[in-house]
Symmetry: C2
C-alpha cells in the first residue's frame, strides 16, 4: 500500500481500538481468523468475512466466474478451519458489471455451491448489485467446541505447517504470464494454478488438530508465512525462529520457480493464498500430532521452527546463519 493509506494490519489495529472502546468484554473479535460469539443458547459461534475484489484478488482474464465463487467460499472456510471449527452457513454478496450474463452469475453461484457442498455449508442469504468490476463478499458462520486462537502461542512451542508452501504463489506467477514457460509438463502447471484458483481449506485437519490436544495456537496462511507468522507472534506477545531449509515446498513449485528464475524459498516465505494451517504445538506433542494427522487426513505436518521470547521472527539457514526474508506481499497490486 502506498501514501497515507494504512496497511491491513494498521487497519485491524485501528478498528480494534475503535471497537474496544465500546465493547470491553469482547475477547476474540477483530484480529483473529474468526470472531467467537456466545449465542443465546450458550453455543460458540464463529463468524468471518472476506471481500474479494477484481484486479486485487483475481483477474477476469484467468479466473472464471465459477473459480471466483469457489475461491470466495474457500477462503472463508479456511478461516473457520484455522480455529478448528466446522463451517455451517454462508451469506454471499456479489457485485458485477451491468451487462454480465445470467449464465456467468449462475456459474459463480455454482462454483460457490460446489465448495459449500464439499464442506457441508448451506448458503442462506446474499445480496447482489451492479458494480464497476466483480466484487464478492462472503460471510461464513460456523461452530467450534474449543476454538483455537492465534494469540496463545508460548515460548518453547514448535511451529509447524500443514502441506506445502508457495504453491499458490507459483500458480499466480503462471496465471499472470501471457504465455506458459517452456519445458514444464502441463500437469505441473495445472497443479500450481489449481492451488491458486481452487484452494482446499484444511477443515478436517483443523478440527482434528484442535481436538487432539497439544496445539496451543493456530491460524491459516492467507498472506504468506512471513506476514501471518508475524501476526501470530504479535498477537501472542512472543518471538519466533524459522529454519528456512525445513519449509516444505512441493516439487511442482520448485520446477516452476526454476523455470521462472525465482527462488522458491521466496514463495514459501512470502507467497500468499496457500490456505495451509500454521500450527503451534507443545514439543512433546509434535510426533503424535504428525503421525495422527497423517493417519486421520493424509496431510503432512512439518515442523519449521520454534516460538521464542522477545518479538519478531529470525529466519535461519541450515548453518544457523540469519537470512533476509522479503516482507509478505498483500496480493498483487500497483
Amino acid at each position: 500500500m502506498s501514501g497515507d493509506r494504512p496497511g491491513e494490519d494498521d487497519l485491524v489495529r485501528l478498528i480494534r481500538e475503535l471497537v474496544r472502546r465500546r465493547a470491553p468484554g469482547l475477547l476474540t473479535g477483530v484480529g483473529d481468523d474468526c470472531a467467537v460469539l456466545e449465542t443465546r443458547g450458550g453455543a460458540s459461534l464463529l463468524a468471518t468475512t472476506d471481500l474479494l475484489v477484481e484486479d486485487v484478488h483475481f483477474r477476469r482474464r484467468w479466473a472464471e466466474p465459477a473459480d471466483i465463487g469457489a475461491k470466495a467460499l474457500a477462503v472463508n472456510v479456511s478461516d473457520i478451519a484455522a480455529m478448528g471449527g466446522t463451517p455451517r452457513w454462508a451469506l454471499v454478496g456479489l457485485g458485477c458489471p451491468e451487462g454480465t450474463g445470467s449464465d456467468e452469475i449462475e456459474a459463480f453461484y455454482e462454483g460457490a455451491l460446489t465448495v459449500a457442498d464439499a464442506y457441508g455449508v448451506v448458503i442462506v442469504g446474499g445480496d447482489t448489485s451492479t458494480a464497476s468490476g466483480w466484487v464478492v463478499s462472503v460471510t461464513l458462520l460456523g461452530d467450534a467446541a474449543r476454538p483455537v486462537l492465534r494469540s496463545t502461542a508460548r515460548p518453547g512451542d514448535v511451529i509447524a505447517v500443514t502441506g506445502t508452501l508457495g504453491q499458490a504463489a507459483a500458480g499466480l506467477a503462471i496465471l499472470e504470464r501471457e504465455t506458459a514457460p517452456h519445458g514444464i509438463e502441463a500437469a505441473r502447471l495445472d497443479e500450481v494454478t489449481t492451488a491458486h484458483l481452487r484452494p482446499r481449506p484444511r477443515v478436517d485437519e483443523g478440527r482434528w488438530l484442535a481436538g487432539a490436544g497439544g496445539v496451543t495456537a493456530m491460524m491459516d496462511l492467507s498472506d504468506g508465512l512471513a506476514t501471518d507468522l508475524g501476526r501470530l507472534i504479535a498477537e501472542s506477545g512472543v518471538g519466533a525462529r524459522v529454519d528456512v531449509e525445513r519449509l516444505p515446498v512441493a516439487a511442482a513449485t520448485r520446477i516452476v520457480a526454476d523455470a521462472l528464475d525465482v527462488d522458491s524459498m521466496d514463495w514459501a516465505t512470502g507467497g500468499g493464498e496457500d490456505y495451509e494451517l500454521l500450527v503451534v504445538c507443545e514439543p512433546t506433542a509434535l510426533e503424535r500430532l504428525h503421525d495422527g494427522l497423517a493417519k486421520a487426513t493424509g496431510t503432512t505436518l512439518s515442523a519449521v521452527g520454534e516460538i521464542t521470547g522477545g518479538s519478531g521472527t529470525r529466519w535461519l539457514d541450515g548453518r544457523g546463519r540469519a537470512v533476509a526474508v522479503a516482507p509478505g506481499f498483500e496480493h498483487f497490486r500497483g
Copy 2:
C-alpha cells in the same frame, strides 16, 4: 437492469433454486429479510448481508465516509428490525481506492460505530481491500424470539406502514441536484436529505409489533412500496389492494415534490430506502397495534390497504378507480 443481466428478484429466484436443490430442509433463507438459523444451543439466529457500491447506492460527491459507514450498518439493522429481531453482531468489509486517507477510513468506521452503538450492535470482524471505488459489505447477526416472516400474509389482513413514505426519495432528488431548488427552507431540505443519508431503522417498532400479537407478516421498505409489497404478496401467494390516498407522506416530502414538479405519490409508491416497516395484521388488531405502537415508540402506523386473493397489487384512488403506479426503481443507475 438491462440486457441479459437478471434483476434482483430473478437472482433471488435463481439462487434460491440452486440452494433448495441442496438444502431442502432450510425453511427461511434466501428471499426473506434475514435467514433464520437454528444454532447448536437451540436459539434462533437471524443473519442478513448487504452490499453497498459507490455510484450504485451512494455517490462520494454527497456521501461522506461517515455517512457511508452509518448507512451500511443501518440498512442491515433494518433487515433485523423487519423480522422483529434484536441486532447483535456485525462484520464489516470495506473496499476503497488506493490513496484513501486513514482519516477517511477512520471516519467510515466511526460512522458505522455510531449506528452500531445506537442499536446495541458490536462490530466483531471485518476485512479491507483496495478497490476501484468504495464498496461496503455488512453482515449483521441478531436474535428473535418469534421472527415475523414476509410469507405469511393472508387475504383479509390489513396492510399498514410505519412513519411516512417517499422521504428518502425526496432526499435523493435533492442530493443528486447540482444546486438546491429555490424557495424551500433549509430545515426541510435537511429533513429529507438526512432521511436518505442517515435512515433510522425501526428496531423498537419491529420488536414491539412482533411481540404484540396480530401481526401476520412484516418486511422493511428498502426498494419502495410497489416493489417490496410485490415481493411480500408473491412470497405469501396472495394479492393486495392499496388506497394511494391513504399513503402517509410527510410535509417536507410534499414541499420538495412540488418544488421539483414531481408527484409525491410516485415517491411514496416507487421511492426506495425509506426503511419503514411494511406491516400486515389482522383487521381486528389494527386499532390496538396503532395505539400501542404510538404509545411505546412514538411512531405512527397507517393502514393503507388490504391483502386480497389472487395475485398482484391493485392501486386505487379515493373514488376506487384503478391508478397506474410506476414500477419501483432499483437504486439510481444507468
